[in-house]
Point group: C2
Chain length 359, copies 2
């Protein structure tokens, strides 16, 4: 399967036109990759209703010729000058730019160069919205990354055991992934055992895992440019009644959230589905984060599954569902899966068992 | 040895006052780490001539209490509101901000919140200049990262041999580093053998290294927050006359550059020293990048050792010296070391042999 760059460009043009922009300037490198296929570190794109320019520096002349599809490639000495030239070539009067990622200084330089020629208009979130709905190529790649994540959990069950140092277990999983073609980690692996499980960012540490502890393993792998993200909480030895109880509440909260997912549902309603299960069980104050987020070229994308989110679920979105309970001094439980929003509801992309596994 | 946060704050205040600012708002996370010791992912600092505030969100309440030295810590719900409160607490009229990294949208939000209260002033490069001169703690940490890099080159000589796949060799070196406490790579390891050596960004690929090839190995390791960066070019088997000749030119260019280094010298003059050796040997058009750059918390920092640089070397700067010759279709040679600028000239921080090693 190949990325449908033509379709992506068509959707961008529809959004650009809906915003009454004559052209759109793309500067975020993940957005550049999404639109053009380019994986280098310095590029711009200028898209109008009928033309599309890709701009990069001489170092990337041959790489861009290989990678970039459907754009006219221009090699620049000074980026700003070439952006102005491309905008003038398409006779743009109003040009949208990515105001949430462009720096103040870059904007100032562009505004100066465009003075008397065209107007720059702050336009946040346009590609973010487009990218939140994945196309078949992306779903295939994300599914592959999720499968490799599952194999990492199988390995975690062997190495994140009593007596092991958290960092060593994390490194063992990472090595396994790298040998299978991963480009890297989606984020620093979290292995948080015992009371560390209550930390919101329990990056694998030099702590040794002990008998009788819960172990929160939250990790993800980057494969062919796409991220995966999942969490399992294991226990070393026989779980206590409280460990079982807290685990069961999180599991039910996650199931409720997953079951609430379908196109047209508010993302905040999915969060509420998880939150109300945890709240009713009396653990509401121990669930201090959102229920999930989109995943794709970035590890955190739209939509956000949180109480304040105004996003609405659409078919083709890929999101995490990851409620948790964190009790200071005691530990934590989080269960996280990746799901694809289909017209029939959520389809799980991760498949590691959600039963409490004792290592 | 401990970081001298008081001294760093004192230097920042001297710069802030020289720029006629009442206060300075720090938003770049590496700059935050430099000033406060904080390693988390969401924080701001507001520094006036007599007070210093550190602002973060509730997730980092306990981590900031552990890490942050010499600042009053404020936990925020809304960052912008707390930045305004801190600025008002120090009665700031004009507040400098980091305009090269702050986004257009963040600036717009802050400008709105400060309206009628204080004026924001774009101030690029202030911390960049301070950070270009390293203190003894930083020199110690950078030296440790450089030593671990040297051990990586020893390993490279064993694994980047004829018959090995570039990516496998890179992974073997990375694993070695991780087992010795590295947090990660300074950048994706470059192992570019044969004609790939002519690529400016020859990330280790699935290519197999062959007999009779030059192999450019450019890599670095992140240790305790500090980066290292070095390059060696090896040869598999007995070098040809041309391989020896090109190597010798690059080596002489690098020596000339290193010898030209001392406090007060223009960074562009160091570039010129390398460039003129390569030019005189007739390879000028095959050396298309700058001669070096500063290294520290970031892999690329000030000063820049390039023809257009206006930086002047100072005692305590740490820079790479990395001339190269890249002949399309034939291959490349680059030799790169890290040096500390001392009052007596350059002190090498990397110690791997610069003789052409045959593997």
């Amino acid at each position: 399967m190949k990325p449908l760059y033509d379709e992506r460009l068509r959707r961008l043009r529809a959004s650009t036109s809906a915003k009454k922009l004559d052209a759109f300037l793309v500067t975020d490198l993940k957005n550049i990759r999404y639109l053009t296929g380019f994986t280098g570190s310095n590029a711009y794109a200028v898209v109008s209703f009928d033309r599309a320019f890709f701009l990069t520096d001489p170092r990337y002349a041959s790489q861009s010729a290989d990678e970039v599809k459907g754009f006219r490639i221009r090699i620049f000495k000074k980026a700003v000058d070439e952006v102005v030239r491309a905008a003038q070539a398409v006779k743009a009067g109003v040009i949208g730019f990515e105001s949430s990622s462009m720096s103040f200084d870059t904007h100032a330089r562009l505004a100066k160069a465009f003075k008397g020629k065209a107007r720059l208009k702050a336009t946040a979130g346009l590609l973010k919205t487009l990218r939140s709905v994945k196309d078949p190529f992306e779903i295939e790649k994300i599914t592959e990354a999720a499968r490799l994540l599952d194999r990492g959990f199988t390995r975690a069950m062997k190495v994140a055991v009593a007596g092991a140092v958290e960092m060593d277990a994390a490194f063992s999983i990472e090595s396994f992934w790298r040998r299978r073609g991963a480009e890297g980690l989606a984020f620093d692996t979290i292995i948080a055992s015992g009371s560390r499980g209550a930390l919101p960012h329990g990056k694998a540490s030099e702590k040794k895992i002990k008998k009788g502890e819960l172990i929160v393993v939250d990790m993800g792998v980057l494969l062919n440019g796409y991220n995966s993200d999942g969490t399992r909480t294991f226990v070393t030895g026989k779980p206590t009644a409280k460990q079982k109880e807290v685990y069961q509440v999180v599991r039910e909260a996650q199931s409720a959230a997953i079951e609430s997912i379908r196109p047209g549902v508010m993302a905040s309603a999915v969060d509420r589905a998880a939150r109300s299960v945890i709240g009713k069980a009396g653990y509401g104050k121990y669930f201090g984060h959102g229920t999930g987020h989109g995943v794709g070229l970035d590890i955190h994308e739209a939509p956000g599954l949180s109480p304040m989110s105004e996003d609405v679920l659409e078919e083709g979105m890929v999101v995490t569902v990851e409620p948790g309970i964190y009790i200071p001094g005691w530990g934590g439980v989080r269960i996280e899966d990746m799901v694809l929003v289909t017209k029939n509801g959520a389809k799980l992309l991760t498949s590691t068992t959600r039963d409490l596994v004792s290592l």
